[in-house]
């Protein structure tokens, strides 16, 4: 296993910039998730690490070796592709054996390793089949098996679970996480599903338009997003974001809908740092719903109620803006009820409108 270091990597396709000056270090044995919306450059970044694409600029180190000029075969990596890329004319056994054959492993060793990998993934009974005779989940396991028959320095995975149904995805997620823990493998895992990233990764790198937005543990990314993009991207349902003006020298916020919210000392200090307006950010779980008004509450009206079992999501209208809050399953609210929203001031997020950056202490 090894550390992976990206130093200011850049990739252009003709005139368009797919990866723009990304620097990050994946520590030895770390599971890093690369997340971001479609087209943000995740696959491109992964393919650059794999050596399937040529860098426009920057450097990539795997371990203490600079690999910029190395062929994929010499980088000692394994990759799981989104569409699995199993060799269609080979049996499962031959698929798993291929990476070993290419590396001139002795026949007996190949057989032993293939069978061990197959056993650990529970696909021993499928060894003589061809890929098209397998279900999606089985193909996924074979793809994973082909990656782990060798023990490469780094595993690269490009949305390996995205073609599976929801139930299988949850199961495979747990297995992958377990696999990482058992092998202490260095893994770079691409996904556009932020839930996968939050649940599996040691650290997550959030990308947008080829630019790295934030790189930290899921807790930090979730609790202290650096900018509006990360705030809106991570978390489901997305963080509520609404614009406001700073009033009373920072002591309170004034909404365009006419509400006024008194800020805590700490938040007031932050708000004073804003160059113009601010954007108030609050996750659904930080919003309280009340039956009567107070100075630190905003009035609204219930729009719809979505009970999900454990938790009930309440969509609240504040004039034209929509806010999603959550309450316990036993609280009864009906559409068009008047409610007042309060915010946990310790977990309130404030962003500068002009720069989109979070306002810090």
């Amino acid at each position: 296993m090894a550390q992976v270091r990206l130093g200011n990597i850049v990739k252009h396709y003709g005139d368009s910039i797919a990866v723009d000056d990304v620097s990050l270090t994946v520590e030895d044995g770390e599971f890093v998730a690369l997340v971001g919306p479609s087209g943000c450059g995740k696959t491109t970044t992964l393919n650059l690490v794999a050596g399937l694409l040529e860098l426009t600029g920057g450097t990539i180190h795997i371990g203490d070796r600079q690999v910029n000029e190395l062929d994929p075969k010499d980088r000692d990596i394994a990759m799981v592709f989104q569409n699995y890329a199993l060799y269609p004319n080979k049996t499962v056994y031959a698929n798993l054996a291929f990476p070993l054959q290419m590396r001139k492993t002795a026949k007996a060793d190949i057989d032993r390793k293939v069978r061990a990998a197959a056993a650990s993934l529970d696909i021993t009974h499928l060894l003589q089949r061809r890929p098209r005779e397998l279900s999606g989940g089985q193909q996924q396991r074979v793809a994973l098996g082909r990656a782990l028959v060798r023990d490469p320095k780094v595993f690269l995975m490009d949305e390996p679970l995205s073609n599976l149904d929801a139930k299988l995805r949850v199961q495979m997620r747990a297995e992958l996480k377990r696999f990482h823990q058992d092998l202490k493998a260095t893994i770079i895992y691409v996904t556009h599903d932020q839930l996968e990233a939050v649940t599996m990764a040691d650290r997550m790198a959030v990308m947008n338009h080829g630019v790295l937005q934030q790189y930290d543990t899921p807790e930090v990314v979730f609790n202290a997003p650096l900018n509006l993009f990360v705030a809106g991207f991570v978390g489901s349902p997305a963080m509520n974001l609404f614009p406001a003006e700073v009033a009373d020298g920072g002591a309170s916020l004034l909404g365009p809908e006419g509400w006024r919210l008194t800020l805590s000392e700490r938040n007031a200090a932050r708000a004073r740092r804003a160059t113009g307006g601010v954007i108030l950010g609050a996750r659904h779980s930080m919003i309280g719903l009340h039956g009567e008004p107070a100075t630190d509450r905003i009035p609204g009206r219930v729009y719809t109620v979505e009970p999900t079992g454990d938790i009930t999501f309440v969509h609240v209208r504040i004039a034209a803006a929509n806010v999603i809050a959550s309450v316990g399953p036993d609280i009864r609210l009906r559409a068009d009820d008047a409610v007042w929203l309060s915010f946990d001031q310790n977990k309130l997020h404030l962003f500068d409108v002009a720069s989109g950056q979070a306002l810090r202490d």
Partner: protein
């Protein structure tokens, strides 16, 4: 319903007529080849030969006599010319089609369409220009001139067909192979080639049959009796042994055997190549 039945019946009759029309000459060829020379000239003709004989086949295929030696010479020439142009054609078409499918290079589209341009003209148009070029090259009256010509005739369709094949093979397969430890060339050889085997087979058959049957260029480029290919050779048979109809028919039959055999054995590939490669892309 009734109309439906009518069209069905009509269609079947039409197909049946077509089969008779195309098959009858061949059937007649085989029947005649089994007759004695005397029986072949009888009128009204015998539909079923009364004394069927394989004499003509023995004559043609035995090196013990002059006719047999000549025929076997032509047969060998044909096999050589067709096989050489097929092998060379595949050797050129495979990398060319792969490059057109996988790489983006300046002038790619222009080059691709100019390859196809050749097929928009009837082959005879190139007869004189090619003859002059062959004279420059000093290749007139050599089999190399034919091999080269057939090569250029087979290539456009081969490249076009194979490109369709490569377009349908996901590039991720090669990427996976390269990560699994293969070089670019190994990825092509070990992963892509086997997947495109039906396409390669189909284009090879196509080139072979085209070269096997070609007549006009073979007639123009070659003079030496020893170097002739079968189609032209048969023509000489026709003039030299004009009265020997069964012999001519037997020779024609032998000539059509490889074509039919290739088609029967490999038609599965041929159909797959045309549908997989061309239509989907």
């Amino acid at each position: 319903m009734k109309e439906h039945g009518f069209w069905r019946l009509g269609g079947k009759l039409y197909l049946a007529a077509l089969v008779v029309f195309t098959m009858l000459p061949m059937v007649w060829m085989v029947i005649t080849s089994l007759k004695t020379q005397f029986a072949a000239l009888q009128y009204p003709p015998e539909w079923i030969p009364r004394n069927p004989t394989l004499d003509q086949y023995w004559l043609l295929l035995s090196p013990a006599n002059a006719v047999g030696r000549e025929f076997l010479r032509y047969l060998f020439n044909s096999v050589w010319v067709s096989a050489a142009s097929t092998v060379l054609g595949v050797a050129v078409a495979v990398p060319a089609a792969y490059a057109f499918s996988r790489f983006r290079f300046p002038g790619r589209n222009l080059l691709f369409y100019s390859v196809l341009l050749r097929n928009m003209f009837p082959a005879v148009v190139f007869l004189m220009p090619l003859f002059i070029m062959m004279r420059w090259l000093g290749l007139v009256n050599t089999q190399a001139s034919l091999i080269l010509t057939y090569l250029t005739f087979g290539l456009p369709l081969s490249i076009w067909l194979l490109k369709g094949f490569y377009d349908n093979i996901p590039v991720q397969l090669e990427q996976a192979a390269r990560i699994d430890g293969a070089s670019r060339f190994q990825a092509f050889l070990l992963i892509v080639m086997p997947l495109s085997a039906p396409g390669i087979t189909a284009t090879a058959i196509y080139s072979f049959i085209m070269a096997w049957n070609e007549y006009v260029y073979a007639l123009t480029f070659l003079n030496d009796k020893d170097r002739l290919t079968l189609p032209v050779g048969l023509q000489r048979f026709f003039t030299e042994y004009a009265t020997n109809w069964p012999g001519l028919m037997a020779a024609s039959f032998i000539m059509s055997v490889p074509v039919v055999a290739l088609f029967l054995v490999l038609q599965k590939y041929f159909v797959r190549a045309l549908t997989d490669g061309a239509v989907k892309s």
